[in-house]
Symmetry: none
Subunit: 196 residues, 4 copies
DNA sequence: AATGAATGAGCCTTCATTCAT
DNA sequence: AATGAATGAAGGCTCATTCAT
């Protein structure tokens, strides 16, 4: 029983279905039927809305990025103090929405598989740069440039590493303790330094 | 013109081929023909030696683990001092053989895809436990148990995170600077503590 | 903004679109969407008007035949002399409207593909018979029956052959020279015979 | 029960199957399964030997051309006299092997569909040129160049036209009478001319 | 009158896997 | 030991067709 104006709903449902399918499988080679099935539509309709499978994957990756970006922006808007901004960025990375194993597994899968796809790699680089600049915008006011670079790199690695552990099926760190670990590192680091 | 006693060489060639194929593609869905081709044999022979594709993947994963294990053991054998043992474990993880982008990409791919395969997950858990106990064997003598746990977790996450960055195509951190980052963290951490 | 009384225009537009689509592709397997798109309507509307795709093809073929028939009739109406009637029939086959590469390509496509469709074959047979009887109506008064049959066959073959060449993309014979070739044949033939 | 050295047999069987499938359908859009089925193999094997469907079509067209070329060459080898050479070329075009409705229908289908495929068009042009030069090699010694051109064009058109009629399912002209028609035309034409 | 929404069926193609040699 | 031959099963994608609006 088709209704009018279904397009945005279907698109969203298909993207969500893609995320969970990829997350569960841990691989981009999920089938269109699988995805369509989860979204409750035929695979033909998925093609109708997204064209080729690759385009759906791209759109999904884009959606993930956009959502993260929105969360970060809104978090940053709330705090002006450099240290607080750092915590805000970290908090977003471990928020309920971002740190769900399902979402994370999808993230990682895209991460790893991105090497073979120029499009995906380009998208991921955007994310990496954005994270980096968000971290730097806080750190640079707390320490020297080169040191800030090193700390940003460490924090980014820490986040990625915690993501990996979270993706594994042993349900490892919960959002709170993961965030705490990063905060702990930052605090330790900052307590040993003076402002630049 | 096949010679006698070629079997071990062929097996090894096939495993190496699997690693590089998976590493390059960033996905477990490499074809048997691709692998066999790289090893210079027919895909039928690959099946002859390893049975199903999944078994070849398992054997490959096992090979990766065994190699890492051997490197770690031999490194630990050389040092008795707790702090030195920590550095040894870290050094191995960033050694020339382990920290090659190709190998890393294969690692990560297995990591992420492991969720859908009980066999693979089991293997990966072995690795995780081993790393953890290796780190703990050093840390436990330098700080309290709960604190050591947290530090081990951080170090493990840091390593994984640096692996991810290394796998990305921008060829980010080189082995030396990656290892230095972890060492830096450890040093910072230890300088603020007393022995347990 | 659809207007009243659009139906005949839409039908005609769809048929024209079918002709050019088939002509360009050189194959009957053009899609309904392609056709509908060229006609500026939705494919659903094409179905609304013509039912199944096959019916649209049939209608298109019928249109082609009807148009040719009309041109022939009007040409014959103008001349009573046997020789002139022959020329008239030939002229129509090479007229501007009939001898356009696009139209011809559609013709040939139908011709060749007609074998798998009883409906199409029936239609084409009508055309063949009509051409034959038109030629014979002139020839029979200029030579003996059996000889007229042979000449009619030759002329028909000549026309078809020239159609083929015209359909090929090298844009071979132009209408005038093609017609001249047939006329030349007829003249040669007639100059060597006496009236029956 | 696979045997060794099957490749040439399978390739040939598949090409033959393609010819008859296309001939019967009157369209290039025969399915790979249809073709493979006729050749008694799986469609996967067809792909194994020919790659994509398009390549099989190309190979088939090439086979048709090669066979015709061989027949023509062997016929020409037998006669030195210009007039006899003309007859030889014509005879080959209406030989038992070439003038089978099945083969002809395949020819025509390729002819018409060739427009959308550069590869096919290229192949067909080779055939057209070859026929033309074969005809000219005889005609040029019997009449003036420009006249020979016109006659060659007529003969080629005549042949194509007779091919079309033969392809239609009413089993029109048999090989002998078709060849006779062309010969008749040539004779008539030559009897009205002097040698150049 | 006209269309967007939706799908089932089918096709090309790939791939792991088997088997006879 | 090693491979060519062969296939079944599945996946991506297209398309004619239907239906509610």
């Amino acid at each position: 029983m088709p209704k009018l104006g279904m397009e945005p709903l279907r698109r969203r449902a298909l993207i969500d279905a893609t995320i969970s399918a990829i997350g569960e499988r841990g691989s981009l080679d999920v089938t269109m039927s699988e995805i369509a099935g989860r979204a409750g539509v035929s695979s033909a309709l998925a093609h109708h809305y997204f064209g080729a499978k690759h385009d759906l994957l791209l759109a999904t990756m884009g959606h993930l990025l956009a959502e993260l970006g929105a969360e970060v922006r809104s978090a940053l808007r709330a705090s002006a103090d450099p240290r607080a901004r750092l915590s805000a960025v970290i908090a977003v990375n471990f928020s309920e929405t971002q740190f769900r194993p399902e979402t994370i597994a999808a993230w990682l899968t895209f991460y790893v598989a991105a090497q073979q796809s120029d499009d995906l790699r380009r998208l991921l680089r955007i994310y990496a740069r954005r994270l980096h600049s968000n971290l730097m915008s806080g750190l640079a006011r707390l320490m020297s440039r080169p040191e800030a670079e090193r700390v940003a790199e460490s924090v980014a690695a820490l986040i990625d590493g915690l993501y990996i552990r979270r993706a594994l099926k042993d349900g490892a760190p919960n959002p709170a303790s993961a965030a705490a670990l990063v905060e702990e590192y930052l605090t330790l680091r900052l307590s040993n330094r003076k402002a630049p």
